[in-house]
């Protein structure tokens, strides 16, 4: 285990062994346990005491496909609690193949100083002055980085929003085509990076070493078994390559749980025009790519390349959550507008979800009309330009609600909900309320259980245990660097067993069935909840906004009905 500690106060860089406390960890497990151990919980997220931790998954860089995720951890300026956000692209594999287990960025550069953290082919880290790149948007920055450092370079960077330290700022990751279109979007970690004075990680992709595999023969066999399970999963094998995550637009609208017009309705008028099916048809007709590889080591290819009427690249990858936030919440049933907004968000470096919801709150407060696409483009541009209103919008939905004195703000712990209304899919409300991350779309997503008819989305029965199970399980998989799509294929007991064998073959240590995912997931959630408690969170923070309890959501006209006591029983550890 090789940790690189970068101190921005004096620009010193130290390499150290990870130590026993972090053995067997990577990704979210490593970032959360380290942040809980080392960051003062009550610190200013944008101050020198916060630490920004980058960690590839435990299995990233190995031959196991779909493990190209990089976790980023810190105290979040959006939620005020612990945060892990992960991104695909090429950066995680590049770091893992240089034998780097984690990069920990500490301290704070003097005001006005901006740097790149360069990691060369030998894994040597250095801080490079970056004043000339100040204010650059991410697409231009990445072009300049590839010119300066060569095409075999991965870039993980912030745009103007991160430099302005805005709470919706993302960290953008370059994909296999060298475009910064993958994002660690949630929780404002781009603002933490900006506050440190760090514009980008610039990492050579030509590393060949990893942490080492204890039993290469067993590892190869175990990988085969996991790959077979992912290939058998029709979501990963059939739907994702053809339609991507956007395939959910139709199903969730048909179930009346697609939060639309700032969560006033559960169905967006004209959703058929922004469905995964409509998008695939449009992309094909224009000569774009419906199947595209966005991340290193990917065998699923859920990405796409959206092109305009002239066949020119607009953005990659247009995803379900972005289509919802920028289309559903704002009432814009137009893929071209949504695609331009997606590109703009990636370029200025903001989370499409929090940004779309912040726009929707402003619209709901009467600032602009729902459905006004040009107005949204102008509003989001203001974030990039750093105008006074842009800074309010860029501070997230809760800040926008305060600005307009508007109380319909769909956030938990300051972070916006995802594309599943908790009144139409009750279990998502449990996840939103209780996840240490704030409202979240990957922490414990129940939509599969609803679609497979294992749970009724409108009946309280089974929602809490299912949310608990998924939150624990996904926390464990988030340690491994494996993407959400492949992890969903591993949710069965057979999947968990096959996956344990991969971990055992890499670590050389025997795992009991309770160790993974259950044991590991609980260990991580405990660390995260411990940090949040010490940061000042109480049970009262595990609540949905009032309107979800009071305003029925059409078409089912249900409200979120769980009591506080029921919510508080979600985690029984």
């Amino acid at each position: 285990m090789r940790f690189i500690r970068v101190n921005m106060n004096d620009r010193s860089i130290r390499v150290e062994e990870g130590g026993e406390a972090y053995a067997g960890l990577g990704g979210r497990g490593l970032t959360s346990i380290l942040v809980n151990a080392e960051v003062p919980a009550k610190c200013d997220p944008l101050g020198p005491e916060n630490k920004l931790v980058f960690a590839p998954g435990f299995l990233t860089g190995t031959s196991l496909p779909n493990t190209g995720r990089l976790s980023v951890g810190a105290k979040s300026p959006l939620t005020g609690g612990i945060k892990e956000s992960n991104a695909g692209g090429t950066i995680a594999t590049a770091l893992a193949r240089l034998g780097i287990t984690a990069i920990i960025v500490e301290g704070q550069a003097p005001a006005g100083e901006l740097s790149l953290l360069r990691i060369d082919q030998d894994g040597q880290a250095s801080l490079v002055p970056a004043a000339e790149y100040r204010g650059l948007r991410t697409y231009t920055l990445v072009e300049r980085m590839l010119e300066a450092y060569g095409e075999k370079t991965s870039v993980f960077c912030i745009g103007p929003a991160g430099e302005h330290k805005l709470a919706v700022a993302s960290i953008q990751s370059s994909d296999v085509d060298g475009r910064p279109c993958r994002a660690a979007g949630r929780g404002g970690l781009g603002a933490v990076m900006g506050a440190k004075g760090l514009k980008a990680l610039v990492v050579d992709q030509r590393g060949k070493s990893t942490d080492g595999i204890a039993d290469p023969g067993a590892f190869k066999e175990a990988v085969k078994a996991v790959v077979a399970l992912v290939q058998q999963d029709h979501m990963s094998a059939e739907v994702m390559p053809k339609l991507g995550t956007a395939a959910l637009v139709g199903a969730v609208n048909s179930l009346g749980a697609f939060p639309s017009y700032n969560a006033r309705k559960g169905v967006l008028e004209g959703w058929e025009k922004i469905s995964g099916e409509a998008m695939a048809e449009l992309i094909q007709a224009r000569g774009g790519k419906t199947t595209h590889m966005g991340c290193n080591q990917c065998a699923i290819h859920c990405s796409n390349e959206f092109v305009d009427a002239e066949g020119k690249y607009v953005t990659s990858s247009l995803e379900y959550e972005t289509i919802w936030a920028m289309g559903g919440m704002t009432g814009v049933a137009d893929l071209d507008t949504i695609a331009r907004l997606d590109h703009l968000c990636d370029d200025i470096g903001v989370d499409t979800m929090s940004t779309g919801v912040a726009v929707a709150v402003a619209m709901d407060a009467g600032y602009r009309s729902f459905g006004d696409g040009p107005a949204i483009l102008e509003m989001v541009e203001e974030i990039g330009r750093g105008t006074a209103f842009g800074r309010i919008l860029g501070s997230g939905p809760a800040a926008v609600g305060k600005h307009f004195n508007h109380d319909r703000v769909p956030v938990v712990k300051g972070q916006s909900i995802a594309a599943y209304d908790p009144r139409g899919m009750l279990g998502h409300g449990i996840t939103y309320a209780t996840s240490p991350m704030g409202a979240d779309h990957t922490a414990g997503n129940l939509v599969g259980a609803y679609l497979e008819h294992k749970l009724d989305p409108l009946s309280p029965e089974g929602q809490i245990p299912t949310s608990r199970f998924l939150q624990i399980t996904m926390a464990a998989f988030d340690c491994m660097g494996q993407c959400f799509m492949a992890s969903v294929a591993m949710l069965s007991p057979e999947g968990a067993e096959a996956f344990r064998k991969v971990i055992e073959a890499k670590s050389g240590k025997t795992l009991e069935p309770d160790d993974f995912p259950q044991g590991m997931g609980i260990r991580i959630l405990k660390a995260e909840r411990d940090f949040n408690r010490r940061a000042g969170f109480t049970r009262q923070d595990d609540r949905l906004p009032r309107f979800f309890y009071e305003e029925p959501l059409p078409p089912h006209n249900k409200v979120f009905s769980f009591t506080d006591e029921e919510i508080d029983g979600t985690f029984d550890f």
């Binding site: 048909s254 179930l255 048809e281 959550e321 599969g448």
Partner: protein, 82 residues
Amino acid sequence: MPTVKVRVKLYGTLGERLTPVERADGVEVEIPERPTVGDLLIRLGISPAGGTVVIVDGRVLAADDEVRPGVLVSLFQAIGGG
């Protein structure tokens, strides 16, 4: 044998073999009276075990639920999130 008619919309990759108009408007299917979801899937040549999601009036139906005459049936593929 008496039959009933239902309109079916196919989403995801289920509708790949249909024309754009059939995908947009759905296709009319005639099946023997009191059909279950399972009967409808068999009639459409879709394996009931293949993770197909049947939605009518905003609710997911089970394989042995009856499909009432005249309803609009939407068929999707189960997805675990995104």
